[in-house]
Symmetry: C2
Subunit: 362 residues, 2 copies
């Protein structure tokens, strides 16, 4: 470890992604490997997206449009907002980084749930910002406890809704109650990476109308990595009032979003039929997995997402390893402090069946 | 501007990229627009690259390989180094950000030339790090003056070699003399974005063997945005000893490089014939422009890159505007404190001729 690096960086455990298919094939000498580990879509992106990308290939010698003009336009159109309310990130991960780098300084703190998406904590550690963790209560955010934790130095509250890895969501009633307790000195960062899977649920809160609410500093993020099947291209976006957006623009690298990613996302967000079809398939797969897990008497959280958090009947590390050897990659949850749990992404019909078949054998 | 943002961010002037072709067409209602503003390659990427991308399109639902395994392997192979000596950035811009975020803390300072690539200064400002600027002397780095500026709090010295926007380079002799004066407490960051255009020059320094030199902390960056014609995909890389690399890995987002970018870069670096061809074309174009500029009695810096910095015979802003209206986008240099200068990228034969023709008319 280099002596020159900042001290606070030394203790950071970098994020450990789900194992890529290629890597498992390489390491275990397997031919057929399925990945249910990273909450990706099991389907390829829409044909329209692939076609749009092909059209751009001969222009890759040019720098991307630094302002993502057409992509912002398409997002603005979809949500009936203005381009000035949008910032584009290299994945919504990058919006987390933007927010912390723009707003947090020495002695500030952020509040997050526990367990939750790991990148809030990692990025705050990188910036040497204090992280207050509030344990979930029965798998859902304890918003009253979070409200009590807010102090004058609290700069950002990160809520993933739905939350990963629990797949649970904050409902409208709790959310509306909570936002009244968020002071003006503080930003509420709603990470809605799984929005498309949850938005049909009746009491799932609709956050976008609130970006203009006076006295509330709200940033909402969404992504093209899940339902749009563009995880490989890294595009996410943040929506907020124009003051918060232009503040975050200060720390954005001018060419953070590559041309292919811009084109693909712009095309994807307009392809409504594709999204409908994927959502339908995911719901079908979810129902199938619920049924099979019920039969096997496994406990799990009801999911507002494209994945299921399952309580195993033993050591989750050993179950993870056994599944891996059979060519089924899932996520083992001890890194989130949830030993005994595995997280399984809803795959194609064949993948779901393969997972259940291998689980039965263990 | 949001009251919540960090104070030091308020005064930052964000980077103003060269105008994109699409934007100029849109704004000025022009059909034929050429861009000689961003030191891009005027040629599309190699056919092999485009083919490799097409193969990946159906897999975009998967997250990229966070470790860029195959790309690092290809770079390591080319330079006979190890993957552990390489970090991949979303453009080499991102390696600048990594270095500053990893190594610089309060009270540290960095040293840069003036004028030079603007992102060193901008990224240091974002992190609230003091920037010491040492003016170039007759268009080249004043390394003696820079050595004199080093103090105990100097954490990084950024040298672009060749330098943008001057297109000049530091020669072997000066470089070898200079590195003896860089203390152990300090990192020497050699930005070699234009390496491929300069490396055939006899006294251009070969930096890679020095990454293992004891007592020297050297980071070398190169990019796929120039000769490889992949500016649109944003891939750059840093080469250093494994301690410096693993330190910077702490601040890298796990999925900073998208799948298409990885595949394209991996394929591009292996396509040696393509690179040779491009370099030949650029040299030819450069000679043509030199000849025409000489005829017109314009002064310019001899270029070790794919662009030429030209002293205009009047107000560079008005010349820039006049060229723009004719559909020729160049870079106007007052943002670098060089009023009266324009920077022109070497284009295709037709583009170079068009530029000269329009320049003559002014």
């Amino acid at each position: 470890m280099s002596k020159l690096m900042k001290k606070n960086l030394k203790q950071i455990k970098t994020y450990k992604p789900g194992k890529p298919i290629e890597e498992v094939k390489r390491e275990l000498g397997l031919k057929n490997v399925i990945k249910l580990a990273s909450n990706e879509s099991p389907f390829p992106p829409s044909k329209k997206v692939r076609k749009a990308i092909q059209k751009k290939l001969s222009e890759l010698n040019r720098y991307p449009d630094g302002g993502s003009f057409y992509l912002k336009d398409a997002i603005a159109e979809k949500y009936k907002i203005k381009p000035e309310n949008i910032i584009i990130g290299n994945g919504s991960d990058e919006i987390i980084i933007f927010a912390i780098r723009t707003f947090c300084q020495k002695n500030d703190n952020i509040i997050i749930g526990e367990p939750t998406f790991l990148m809030y904590n990692i990025n705050a550690q990188i910036e040497n910002i204090k992280v207050n963790k509030v344990p979930l209560s029965n798998g859902v955010y304890d918003l009253e406890q979070i409200a009590r934790k807010i102090n004058k130095d609290t700069k950002i509250i990160f809520l993933a809704n739905p939350n990963a890895p629990t797949s649970t969501y904050i409902n409208k009633l709790s959310f509306n109650k909570f936002i009244k307790k968020v002071p003006k000195s503080c930003i509420l960062f709603m990470d809605e990476a799984y929005y498309e899977f949850a938005c049909a649920i009746k009491d799932y809160p609709d956050t976008l109308p609130l970006i203009k609410k006076k006295g509330l500093n709200l940033i909402v993020t969404r992504t093209f990595s899940k339902v749009y099947a563009l995880a490989g291209l890294r595009v996410g976006y943040g929506i907020a009032n124009s003051e918060l957006i232009s503040a975050m623009e200060k720390v954005r690298d001018p060419f953070n979003i590559n041309s292919i990613a811009q084109t693909a996302a712009e095309t994807a967000i307009k392809d409504k039929d594709y999204v409908k079809k994927v959502l339908k398939e995911v719901e079908k797969g979810k129902d199938h997995l619920y049924m099979e897990l019920d039969k096997l008497e496994y406990e799990y959280f009801p999911s507002a997402t494209n994945f299921i958090l399952i309580k195993t009947k033993g050591d989750s590390k050993s179950i993870y390893e056994k599944l891996l050897k059979k060519g089924v990659i899932v996520r083992e949850m001890s890194g989130w402090g949830m030993n005994g749990y595995i997280r399984v992404t809803i795959g194609t019909d064949a993948e779901n069946k393969k997972f259940i078949a291998e689980l039965k054998k263990i």
